[in-house]
Amino acid sequence: MNKDRVLTRVNEIFRDVLDNEHLIITYQTTANDVEDWDSLNHIQLVVAIEKQFNLRFTSREILGWRNVGEMIDSIIKKI
């Protein structure tokens, strides 16, 4: 699966978890850019992504993400 396709699927997950059907995320998006992307929703985002792509992140990976692009890089490495 290419990076743009992963971004599309991750965007759908963000829309569902954050209840914002118009949300558009990019590789540069950070938590500061998205209303409601707080620590509790972050947990739900990680759970949903891990289920969707059938993978598991490490704590170190998650703590290292500075934006959506780095999150997607982690996904790409595991699928």
């Binding site: 509790l40 947990i43 739900q44 990680v46 598991r56 704590s59």
Partner: protein, 132 residues
Amino acid sequence: MIFKLKDKFQQTFIVSDKIYKGFIKLFNDNNPLHTQSPFAHHHGFDEKIMHGNILSGFLSYFIGECLPIKNVIIQTQQIQFKAPVYLNDEIFFEAIVDGIFPSINTVEFKFNFRNTDDKIVSKGKIQIGILT
């Protein structure tokens, strides 16, 4: 991680008069389905039915008191009510670890409540966080 996939937990509950009346006293839900047998009969039930969220209370007890650790918090919960529960029913609860997310210290359980006829009266999922 203290939990493993497919770990199973079981508990028996009774929807006692004390719980039933306590629920009404606390939340003031006196809907006639829960308080008037003739009304419940008219709508197809054998007796007045118990509030579904009494089962949510049992779920809270399970998470708070029955797990091997106490540093847990409920993050999400989904529950379906599939069949009526009546006063003094004995209810068998079972929860199975259905997902473990170590990076965020999160565990997901599938659960169900069954009555003495082995009928599922309620089922759902509950996700907890393990506080560090």
